[in-house]
């Protein structure tokens, strides 16, 4: 009896092996960001046709500069969403970092280093608070981070009550410049973050984030320290928001106490566009970054296509829905196989 049942089971796994292979390839294609990358490249090609100057290195760099803050914020958010949480505090963190850099500018490369560390510290601190509230005090993440976001917005307004101040020139010029006139520095920063993610992904923590996001209870019973992992996810997110604030300041060169707010919903859209599931446990940073880049690029494409700006919103909304429907359908086909 045992023999034949094992046989039956093994033939079952064997028989569907090929389909499964195809399905998992498809799933990886959607969730690993290849789909959104393809979308991005197609969109860029259209943009290049509509606006030949878009292919010059200056325009590419400008686009990169524009993309970097959103991309970094979305990347940070991905950490939290992977672990099945929400994080609204990004708006607050970015605002605080921005006004801090504008009120206390530090010149030179040393100053820039100090500034970046300061932003990371601010983001890490807020992330740690979020992490404690969510992991140990068991608050609902959307509510806890809403509260921290409001508080952070207040802190930003206390530091600077009206737009003003100047971000250090070294940061403003070097961080938005091109290396050897070609490679945009902001792009390198994003790449560096992705590099760190590739490493992190391969640590126990990286795997644990996915485990916690997919099934918290099972992860806990498997020995994963769920609370620590959650905490870590919020801290990592905070650090990236800090970096996003830094890059935003480099671009706008000034302090705006509410500068983080416009990035809030866009970051969520970028993450979802990248195919990361809001239910946790699947997706990745790379896809979110490309998702953010796509959102930024889409505006450019709509501009150069000459769409009346009264209606650009409609196109954006429809594209957002179509992109997600497409990736959902692909995943469903994958799951069906």
């Amino acid at each position: 009896m045992s023999q034949s049942s094992t046989q039956a089971a093994s033939s079952q796994t064997g028989g569907v092996g090929n389909d499964r292979h195809f399905a998992s390839t498809l799933k990886r294609f959607v969730q690993g960001g290849s789909l959104i990358l393809l979308t991005y490249l197609v969109l860029y090609a259209i943009y290049g046709v509509l606006e030949p100057r878009a292919l010059e290195s200056y325009a590419i760099a400008a686009l990169m500069n524009n993309t970097a803050p959103l991309a970094l914020a979305a990347a940070g958010l991905t950490f939290v969403i992977l672990s099945r949480g929400f994080d609204l505090s990004l708006a607050g963190v970015i605002s605080i970092c921005n006004v801090t850099l504008a009120v206390w500018p530090m010149e030179g490369p040393g100053g820039a280093l100090a500034s970046v560390l300061l932003c990371l510290a601010i983001g890490g601190f807020v992330g740690a608070i979020n992490g404690i509230l969510v992991a140990w005090f068991q608050l609902q993440s959307i509510a806890a981070t809403l509260a921290t976001m409001i508080i952070c917005q207040g802190v930003a307004l206390v530091i600077l009550d009206a737009p003003g101040g100047y971000v250090a020139e070294w940061i403003v010029y070097e961080m938005t410049d091109r290396l050897w006139g070609v490679i945009p520095v902001s792009g390198l920063v994003v790449l560096a973050v992705l590099g760190v993610w590739m490493i992190l992904r391969r640590t126990g923590f990286g795997t644990a984030i996915y485990a916690v996001g997919a099934d918290e209870q099972a992860a806990a019973l498997s020995g994963v320290r769920v609370q620590h992992v959650r905490f870590g996810a919020y801290v990592c997110a905070g650090l990236l928001y800090g970096l996003a604030g830094f890059m935003l300041s480099a671009q706008t060169a000034t302090g705006i106490p509410t500068s983080g707010a416009p990035l809030l919903l866009l970051s969520f859209a970028a993450v979802a566009l990248g195919g990361t599931s809001l239910a946790g446990g699947s997706g990745g940073l790379f896809a979110s970054v490309i998702g953010a880049a796509t959102l930024t690029l889409l505006q450019k494409v709509l501009f150069s296509a000459g769409i009346s700006s009264f209606y650009t919103g409609m196109f954006q909304g429809v594209v957002l829905i179509l992109a997600v429907v497409f990736s959902v359908t692909m995943s469903r086909i994958g799951a069906k196989q």
Partner: protein, 341 residues
């Protein structure tokens, strides 16, 4: 363990067959609804320390009138959250309701109350479109409603060419500006709304179905709940409520702007969550949400009376929300519950 002890044990357990464990009589949601209400009253009374005129009946009236928008709006948001979704299109639909009420109804025939019903139907249609995207196309609610929000806002911009016109329809004015039985009509209206909405959510058949879907849609389907219909319903109700809020706002301030709904998105979510609902769905009561909405509005009136710079006021506001959340935690109630016992 001795044999004698064994024997004794056996006898004892034979005589008392069943276990004596009880369920806690008061549900978690009821407790949190009550505590939010208590917190609200404490805030109101405590407000006297901020300004002697606060904590009076007139402040309560102000809170109720200003809170009515949030209460109506968070009913819809609460239903959506109950089924495990989230409605980000509320601001745009509020604006849609307001703009249609002024630009169309107000500008063509301010007395035509029946046109307002058409306005509400149009808003409901927006909800229906969101729901279709979510249920059939499997777009996550977050994205679908966000996209709808962008689309509706853009359509409104195009429709008005940027300039909202016209005044409020007469019904809207009558609803928000008149007095009945010595009380501002909006207060009576919102009380009636609360009663109906609370009955709907906790006692009606569709309301019970929504809870079932929120806890486990698969199981609800097998139990014979019309899952698809019930997944669509909250979005439609939510959009209709948002349209109603748009009309109320138009009646309140006799005009519409293209961003009139924007300030209500996060508060509508916050009211629901502070009121004890789970963002994952399946748990929460409307009375809790009402408490949450009133708490936020009360806090707003008090905060604006504090003579501090805006940054510090914002910090205080966030801190109070955080403290409320910490106080309303389950764990705390469990501890209290075990002390009670």
């Amino acid at each position: 363990m001795t044999v004698a002890g064994d024997q004794q044990d056996k006898q004892m357990s034979l005589s008392q067959t069943g276990d004596q464990r009880k369920s806690s009589r008061v549900s978690r949601e009821t407790i949190s609804a009550i505590s939010v209400a208590v917190l609200c009253v404490i805030l109101l009374l405590g407000a006297r320390f901020v300004s002697p005129s606060l904590g009076s009946w007139s402040q309560v009236e102000t809170v109720l009138v200003l809170g009515s928008f949030l209460i109506v709006l968070s009913f819809g948001q609460g239903l959506v959250i109950l089924t495990g979704g989230l409605d980000l299109s509320l601001p745009a639909v509020v604006t849609l309701g307001g703009i249609l009420a002024t630009n169309w109804v107000g500008a063509t025939d301010p007395g035509a109350w029946y046109l307002l019903i058409v306005v509400l139907l149009i808003c409901a249609g927006v909800g229906l479109v969101s729901a279709i995207g979510i249920v059939w196309l499997r777009v996550p609610p977050f994205i679908m409603t966000l996209a709808m929000s962008i689309i509706v806002s853009s359509a409104l911009l195009g429709y008005t060419r940027g300039t909202p016109r016209g005044g409020a329809p007469e019904v809207a004015l009558a609803l928000m500006k008149s007095k009945m039985l010595g009380m501002p009509t909006p207060i009576l209206f919102v009380i009636a709304f609360i009663i109906i909405a609370a009955l709907f959510q906790s006692r009606s058949v569709p309301g019970r179905y929504l809870y079932a879907i929120g806890t486990n849609a698969d199981a609800a389907r097998i139990a014979g709940v019309p899952v698809v219909l019930m997944q669509i319903l909250p979005y439609v109700i939510s959009a209709t409520c948002a349209g109603l809020v748009g009309i109320m706002l138009v009646g309140y301030s006799n005009g519409a702007t293209l961003r009139m709904g924007d300030d209500y998105l996060l508060p509508s979510i916050a009211a629901v969550v502070i009121g004890g609902s789970s963002i994952l769905g399946g748990r929460g009561t409307f009375l809790g949400t009402v408490g949450g909405a009133l708490l936020l509005t009360t806090l707003g009136t008090i905060i604006s009376a504090i003579g501090l710079q805006i940054g510090l006021r914002t910090i205080i506001e966030g801190a109070v929300v955080l403290i409320a959340l910490l106080l309303l935690r389950d764990e705390l109630f469990q501890k209290l519950g075990s002390l009670w016992r």
